[in-house]
């Protein structure tokens, strides 16, 4: 009997010890779960790199990273919306130049026999009319196609309001808080930076940069369904060393895809949008990456 009790006690003791040892492991993952939420709060201006988590020990810093990358895909970028209204720096002068075709006329005189002057000149007035027309299309916002062009037109005016509303709140609340964290973390970050993933804000910055140089294939048939992946090998200074369209096979066979893919490639290679503003100390993370160009959102879906 006493033997039985003894074994029983020993066994329970063993269980207790096993349980005790096991628990701490369970605890850590729990912390992980919380962490990602904190990370999202970070915004761009703090690219000082302090982006990371709450005022906790460094261990967490390591743990945090994982959940972020997946989230990046979502339209969460708070600032993505705000800056867009000002596309390229030169756009407006350009448009002006295009329509009246100013140089076309002078040249026309020097011409040979036929008069090759660009006859149809753009009319400035109609544009304003069109602008008025557009509102009328609005009645059918749910329609993908309808929104395509509407979006395009509206883009110039009030670019991106379509996104999340919470963005308005987030920045306000967090800013001061973030700064504090940033300051607090300045030193620790350097230790772990290399293998830390990029924060959402850091990625957003690059996103905006490239978006400015990406000329969408706007009126093409089914343009909204052309998703292009480009693999990029980066230099440490933030310029692409090599960029390659992933789907080489389709490139050979589908002229629409080729046109869209090349427009994406031009966006990557356009020096006006370089170097990509990526944190240098995380070079290992972005040394090679994939840029996914997906115009669907621009077409209203």
């Amino acid at each position: 009997m006493s033997r039985g009790i003894l074994t029983s006690v020993l066994f329970h003791l063993f269980l207790a010890v096993a349980g005790y040892l096991g628990l701490p492991r369970l605890n850590r993952p729990e912390l992980l779960v919380e962490a990602p939420i904190m990370v999202e709060l970070v915004t761009v201006d703090d690219v000082t790199n302090a982006a990371p988590p709450p005022p906790r020990p460094e261990k967490k810093a390591k743990a945090l990273p994982p959940p972020e990358p997946p989230k990046v895909d979502e339209p969460k970028h708070p600032q993505a919306a705000a800056p867009a209204p000002a596309p390229a720096p030169e756009p407006k002068p350009e448009i002006a130049a295009v329509t009246p075709s100013p140089d076309a006329k002078p040249k026309a005189k020097e011409k040979p026999k036929p008069k090759p002057k660009a006859k149809p000149k753009a009319k400035p007035k109609p544009l304003s009319k069109l602008a008025k027309v557009k509102p009328r299309r609005k009645p059918k916002p749910p329609d993908t196609f309808a929104s395509v062009l509407k979006t395009l037109a509206d883009l110039k005016k009030h670019a991106p309001q379509p996104k999340k509303k919470d963005k308005a709140k987030k920045p306000k609340k967090k800013e001061s808080f973030e700064r504090q964290i940033a300051r607090a973390l300045v030193s620790p970050t350097s230790k772990f930076s290399t293998d830390r993933p990029l924060t959402i804000s850091e990625i957003d910055l690059v996103r905006q940069q490239i978006a400015k140089c990406w000329n969408l294939p706007s009126g093409a048939k089914d343009a909204e369904n052309l998703v292009i992946e480009i693999s990029v090998e980066m230099n440490p200074d933030g310029t692409p060393r090599q960029a390659r369209i992933r789907d080489q096979k389709r490139l050979q066979t589908d002229p629409f895809f080729r046109a869209a893919a090349e427009s994406a490639l031009r966006a990557v290679l356009n020096q006006n949008c370089q170097p990509f503003k990526l944190p240098r100390e995380k070079y290992d993370r972005w040394r090679s990456m994939t840029l996914v160009f997906n115009p669907k959102e621009m077409f209203g879906s």
Binding site: L15, L26, R28, L32, A63, P66, P67, P69, V72, D73, A84, A88, P91, E94, V98, S101, D103, A104, K107, E110, K111, P114, K115, A118, P120, K121, L127, L130, V133, K140, F145, A146, V148, A153, P160, I203, V206, I210, C213, W214, N215, L216, P217, G219, A220, K221, P255, F256, A259, A260, R266, Q271, S288, T290, V292, N294, P295, K296, E297, M298
Partner: protein, 445 residues
């Protein structure tokens, strides 16, 4: 205890692993926004050895640049900004020089007179960022055809960069109008898509309306009032010959070719009722497609020839309907407020353009073939008669100002507009113009 703890421990173990996997995954960045700007492109002079060749070269590059600019998708740069001049076809361009001036594509070319008097024009399209040749072609033609060569080059560039075929090597047939409003002189006229090479096809003695191009290009079908009877005619551009299409008891109007050019579909009004008929041009056999007491008119084939869109007031007001090409399966597709008329099926097949009348105004718009996605592109006192560019990307129509009691106003002009609703441009014609019809791409046979 143990049974549930085991899975928990296991799960915890797995969970602790996942972060590392995720962290190791390659960085992916989604770019979901872009801009819609014309692509900056540099069109250099198509040089040549002799002065004459240089002259032609300059003319060609100007026409190419004008075509591309007019599309609204390209922005040809001012040649005074070019850093590298005198490019040679034999050597690579200095791409760095071109990147500096922010061009994304570069067109260079050369003109050479051949011994038989014809000209040979070569061109090459470069991707300035990728430093790669995108396209290189050569055309040979009689010297007087230099404008067409230029349009073909512009088409090749457009196609290579946008993925869609171009529409620059095309012509427009339209109704040229002159004289006072109560005594209008209407003549059939034709011109290149850019307004050049304009010529009148008819004298103007008889009223002509609604010209339509044949997909085989040498023929136009239209409505003419001869001896005060409106009839559908066919006009051969090459020979200048015109003939009445069929001998019908009533009046025929609103003709349009089938996509294969072998049939003409039109309306026939007889005994106070209008129905849609199709005539086989070779056998001259006529078949009636609709049978309804309402007015059925303005038929237009889908590009595959399997369906027909038309205009009918059978539902009480003028609306757009679609039926199979044998006349079966009629269904209404337009349900917006107002009246809809002149449906025209896009050569791309995805859209139907129309004229809409609502609240005392006219609109040019497009909708999908099922009637969804209606968008209005242009609006005015009177806008009418949409016609598609052969690539289904651009529309032309005409716009008329209101006429006033003193007889002024009422001027009508042709305009083109991009499918996106951007880039509206007037097409300059010698006289007033209405009822444009866009030709298919001119083929080389």
């Amino acid at each position: 205890m143990i049974p549930w703890r085991l899975p928990v421990l296991l799960a915890a173990f797995l969970f602790s692993l996942t972060p590392f996997n995720a962290a190791q995954a390659e960085l992916r960045i989604d770019i979901t926004r872009g801009t819609v700007e014309p692509i900056p492109i540099a069109v250099t002079d198509f040089g040549g050895g002799s002065d004459k060749e240089k002259q032609f070269g300059q003319g060609i590059s100007e026409v190419v640049a004008a075509d591309l600019a007019r599309s609204g998708l390209f922005r040809p740069l001012d040649s005074r900004a070019f850093i590298q001049t005198g490019l040679s076809m034999a050597t690579l361009p200095r791409f760095g020089d071109w990147r500096v001036i922010n061009t994304q594509a570069l067109i260079q070319g050369r003109v050479r007179f051949m011994e038989d008097g014809r000209i040979r024009v070569e061109f090459r399209l470069w991707d300035v960022f990728a430093e790669q040749s995108m396209e290189g072609l050569a055309y040979t033609a009689a010297a007087k055809g230099w404008r067409r060569i230029a349009h073909k080059i512009a088409d090749a560039v457009y196609k290579r960069i946008t993925g869609e075929s171009g529409y620059f090597d095309t012509r427009i047939v339209y109704i040229s109008e002159s004289g006072p409003l109560n005594k209008r002189r209407k003549r059939l006229a034709i011109m290149d898509q850019d307004g050049e090479n304009h010529q009148f096809l008819t004298s103007g003695d008889d009223l002509v309306l609604t010209p339509r191009f044949s997909p085989t290009l040498q023929e136009i079908t239209y409505l003419s009032y001869y001896a005060n009877t409106p009839r559908v005619y066919i006009f051969n551009i090459d020979t200048g010959r015109q003939e009445v299409l069929g001998d019908f008891p009533g009046m025929t109007f609103a003709p349009r070719f089938s996509p294969d050019g072998k049939k003409v579909i039109m309306s026939l009004a007889k005994d106070g009722n209008t129905e849609i008929y199709v005539m086989d041009l070779r056998t001259r056999v006529v078949k009636r497609l609709t049978n309804h007491s309402a007015i059925d008119t303005s038929p237009s084939y889908s590009p595959d020839g399997k369906q027909i869109t038309f205009n009918s007031d059978r539902g009480g007001s003028q609306q757009i309907y679609v039926m199979d090409s044998d006349g079966r399966n009629v269904h209404r597709i337009s349900y917006g407020k107002g009246r809809y008329a002149t449906p025209v099926w896009s050569p791309r097949g995805d859209l139907i353009a129309f004229t809409k009348m609502s609240r005392g105004k006219f609109f040019i718009g497009v909708m999908r073939k099922d009637g969804s996605g209606e968008r209005l592109l242009a609006e005015d006192f009177l806008v009418e008669a949409p016609t598609w560019a052969p690539n289904g990307r651009v529309l032309m129509f005409f716009r008329q100002e209101p006429s006033r009691a003193d007889g002024s106003g009422g001027r009508s002009r042709i305009y083109s507009i991009d499918l996106t609703g951007e880039n509206e441009r007037e097409i300059i014609t010698p006289l007033e113009a209405s009822d444009p019809a866009w030709s298919p791409l001119i083929s080389d046979r």
